[in-house]
């Protein structure tokens, strides 16, 4: 029996689902040989409530999403958070710094009264999560790695070290040496430092490592010329939820 896999989207851009199966043709066939994809809005219209593995995309930002998520948790044997919004709250949590009324006004203006909103939160703030596929968007290889681990019955091997490790392996010149600041030293690796290798910096989309030395990272950012406000802003983009709950 092939495990039945379902994808669900909550508050997010749905880019994770779009990017999730950006596999080459051979891999898609291998994947479909290994699992039954039963719910996947971006791929097929049929739906069912019978599934084993639920991938949750997006953060939870409306009251009505909570019972819906709990129902999925009850049904699924395994729940996997997919992407930054689901794993760590992501950019949606930026609104948590505002009163919810004000956030609604800014976004919907005079139509605000038709909408409800609550402070955004990651999936694990509502239901227990078994595995995480991190990133904005997630690394396809990591999604595949998690699926393979589930099929083999082992724990997916997701690094608990910072991006610096992979950045050094990639042979990059540290962006700090070029006057650019970066969150890499406290952000979980697994992305092969793709942003830095491509000439950018790390904004922290994969979330913090288990025991980040935030004080030291903040001191370093200040040493490299950032103000306290700029430092806070840097962390907020993806990691507001971790920041406010600590």
């Amino acid at each position: 029996m092939k495990p039945k896999v379902a994808f669900f989207d909550f508050t997010g851009c749905e880019g994770c689902q779009l990017d999730a199966l950006n596999l080459d043709a051979g891999e898609v066939i291998d994947l479909l040989n290994a699992v039954d994809i039963v719910n996947f809005r971006e791929v097929k219209t049929e739906r069912t409530d019978d599934y084993d593995i639920a991938f949750i995309e997006g953060s939870i930002s409306r009251e009505s999403e909570i019972p819906r998520l709990k129902k999925i948790r009850d049904q699924a044997k395994i729940v996997v958070a997919l992407g930054s919004c689901a794993c760590i709250g992501g950019v949606n949590c930026l609104k948590n710094h505002l009163p919810m009324e004000e956030a609604l006004q800014i976004v919907y203006g005079k139509d605000a009264r038709y909408y409800d909103t609550i402070p955004a939160r990651p999936v694990n703030a509502v239901v227990p999560v078994d595995y995480y596929v991190r990133g904005c968007p997630p690394v396809t290889a990591e999604l595949v790695k998690v699926i393979k681990a589930l099929l083999l019955g082992k724990k997916p091997d997701i690094p608990n070290y910072p991006v610096c490790v992979e950045c050094k392996m990639a042979g990059n010149v540290c962006v700090f040496e070029r006057g650019i600041t970066c969150l890499g030293p406290v952000i979980r690796a697994g992305c092969d430092a793709i942003c830095i290798t491509s000439g950018r910096r790390c904004w922290g989309c994969r979330g913090l490592v288990d025991d980040p030395n935030l004080d030291s990272e903040k001191d370093i950012l200040k040493k490299y010329g950032l103000t306290v406000e700029q430092v806070v802003e840097k962390f907020r983009i993806y990691n507001t939820y971790a920041e406010v709950t600590k």
Partner: protein, 641 residues
């Protein structure tokens, strides 16, 4: 080939001269035949990368971001390919591509020699060996060292081994040393060299000397001493404090040429039929490096990981492989954003600690030269007070006019020439005037002789000796004094000290017990303490008489009567051995931790200077490490209580 006449057959271990054109034809010849890696500029730094033409190659760089060891031990490589299932099979995957690395600095060559030892001696590693045998190493002397490098201190700024060819840029051309038969063949096939002129040999020496003078950082201790001083400072608080800003980001180990630790993991294809076993670079600075499946992490603190890395660099690698574990390239210091990774800085800090400890030993030696160790200083008896028929307080002043300089809780050796010497605890606080008091019970020859002294008589004094009470620990705390009988003699020095500095402490409670009313000591002071509103004073006698109206019962009966906060209180207990046992039980009932119960031990201390051995209990000399101990310390000393 016009220069053919000048060319020679380049023998191993000899140095020749080569023109710039000669180098070009060597490099381009190699590029035509095999993969060539060398140094290129990138974002204002230098990196090793594939070289497609001679003009891409940079030979006058300072240091590269990551070392060339990645061509021998890649960040990630496949060890095995396997199939899953019943008849699972595993095949080794060994890479055999021939390569040349051009422009390797001597410190990196030394690092490669370490990898050779680690991977090619015990349990030879087939992947490493194959790659190593297929790799040509052409070194170049580093004439422009990085400001973070200290290779000259590690003896790795120059090398005579580990390369096939080694170049030195002498301006007009290159000197080339042949390091192997492969090197001879390379020159014969791709280039020409000639015997160097005297001026060229002199120039090579000059540029090397100039380069070694350019190193800005140096080790302040001979590197042979590193293992010993590291070992001696394993427990030093330095590791904790220095590692506080560590991000555990692993940058230091990822850029290190002598780091070669790895992780091994399986990756399976989506068809779940076949897979690969990979090894991937790993490092001891990373949080989970020493974590086992049960969740236990054997190096879970930043300090322990930071220390382990420095110990590997300065001690473990040298001891295990007989080669220097840090080549002083300075890459880790450049990569570390927290600016704490530089081994030379850690080594120098530890050297400074070691030096400070040795200086203390030297100072002690100078302060008490051997000729004076056993010579007493003369002290005049300036006052005598009888406490009981058996006990008197003697007040002395040193004839040299200097104060005794004691800490409360220390003791002196008192001598009466012809009779002998005895250890006597000091009963007065250094906060009182220039004399010191010794309260003495008449129990033996020396104390009998002392009891016969009159004002104006002199005795000999050596000391003060011993550690005394831990004044720094007591500062700001609530203090519970428990004195039994003549235990009050040493404790009085601390009681006086605390009362003279009363504002520096919290609540002060003083409990005193004597066997009988007749054996109560320092009656005036007992009366003064009982009236002092700044302390809570309670006393008891074991057996009362008709005149006694106070508490009757052993001292332990007083403890339940006082209110103590076990988190803030330090108990200082001095009395006969039997008393300690019962007082400890009572204090433990009140929740006091072992670290907060302080005791002074009485032992036979003949010399006072840690030599004669009489006062030894298990591993400690009471006259040196004692006589004051916490209960926590005594728990490890089985003979103590």
């Amino acid at each position: 080939m016009a220069t053919k006449k000048e060319t020679v057959l380049p023998e191993v271990n000899k140095t020749f001269a080569m023109t710039k054109g000669g180098l070009k034809s060597l490099v381009e010849g190699l590029i035509k035949d095999i993969e060539v890696f060398g140094v290129k500029p990138k974002h204002g730094k230098y990196v090793y990368d594939k070289i497609a033409s001679f003009k891409e190659l940079c030979l006058d760089y300072d240091v590269t971001v990551t070392p060339p060891t990645k061509y021998l031990l890649p960040a990630k490589e496949t060890l095995l390919k396997f199939s899953l299932g019943d008849k699972s099979k595993a095949e080794p995957v060994i890479e055999t591509t021939p390569r040349a690395i051009i422009g390797v600095h001597p410190y990196d060559i030394k690092a490669i020699e370490l990898l050779d030892t680690a991977f090619m001696s015990t349990n030879p590693d087939p992947n490493y060996i194959t790659r190593r045998r297929n790799t040509i190493i052409i070194g170049v002397d580093c004439l422009n060292p990085s400001p973070k490098s200290f290779a000259s201190s590690m003896g790795t700024n120059l090398t005579e081994t580990g390369f096939d060819l080694l170049l030195t840029d002498i301006g007009t051309g290159y000197m080339v040393t042949v390091g192997s038969k492969k090197g001879t063949e390379l020159l014969a096939r791709y280039s020409q060299v000639r015997e160097p002129r005297g001026s060229e040999i002199a120039k090579q020496k000059a540029v090397r000397d100039e380069a070694s003078a350019r190193y800005k950082l140096s080790l302040n201790v001979p590197r042979e001493r590193l293992p010993k001083i590291l070992e001696e400072n394993y427990e030093d608080p330095y590791w904790e404090s220095r590692s506080a800003p560590c991000l555990s980001c692993g940058s230091c180990v990822m850029v290190c040429p002598t780091c070669f630790c790895f992780d091994v993991k399986d990756e399976v294809a989506l068809n779940l039929k076949e897979g690969e076993r990979l090894r991937q670079r790993d490092g001891c600075l990373l949080v989970d490096f020493a974590k086992v499946a049960t969740g236990e992490n054997f190096r879970h603190t930043k300090a322990s990981r930071f220390r382990h890395r420095i110990f590997r660099k300065g001690k473990y690698i040298l001891e295990r492989y007989g080669r220097v574990g840090c080549v002083g390239c300075g890459r880790c210091a450049i990569a570390c954003l927290a600016e704490i990774a530089s081994p030379v800085e850690a080594f120098n800090a530890i050297a400074e600690l070691a030096e400070a400890k040795e200086a203390t030993i030297r100072r002690t030696r100078e302060a008490r030269p051997e000729t004076e160790l056993y010579i007493p200083r003369l002290a005049e008896l300036v006052g005598v007070t009888e406490l009981t028929p058996r006990e008197k307080v003697f007040e002395f002043r040193l004839l040299d006019g200097r104060p005794l300089g004691q800490r409360p809780g220390q003791f002196v050796e008192v001598s009466v020439m012809g009779i002998g010497e005895a250890p006597i605890s000091i009963s007065s606080s250094p906060t009182r005037d220039g004399t010191f008091q010794l309260a003495i019970r008449k129990v033996g020859d020396v104390t009998n002789a002392l009891h016969n002294l009159k004002r104006g008589d002199t005795v000999g004094i050596r000391g003060p000796f011993g550690n005394g009470f831990p004044l720094e620990t007591l500062e700001g705390k609530d203090i519970l004094f428990v004195a039994g009988g003549i235990g009050l003699f040493p404790l009085r020095s601390l009681i006086q000290y605390v009362l003279d500095r009363r504002n520096s402490y919290g609540k002060v409670i003083l409990l005193f017990g004597a066997r009988s009313p007749a054996e109560r000591l320092f009656l005036d002071e007992l009366a003064a303490w009982s009236k002092n509103p700044q302390i809570e004073f309670r006393e008891t006698v074991d057996v009362g008489d008709e005149s006694w109206k106070g508490n009757v019962g052993v001292i332990t009966t007083l403890i339940p009567k006082v209110v103590i906060d076990p988190k803030k209180t330090q108990a200082v207990v001095v009395g006969p051995p039997i008393m300690y046992r019962f007082v400890i039980v009572e204090l433990k009932k009140r929740g006091l931790p072992d670290e907060s119960i302080i005791m002074s031990l009485e032992r036979r201390m003949k010399c006072g200077v840690g030599k004669c051995g009489h006062c030894q209990i298990n591993s400690v000399y009471v006259c040196q490490e004692g006589p004051v101990f916490t209960l926590a310390q005594l728990r490890n000393l089985k003979e103590a209580v």
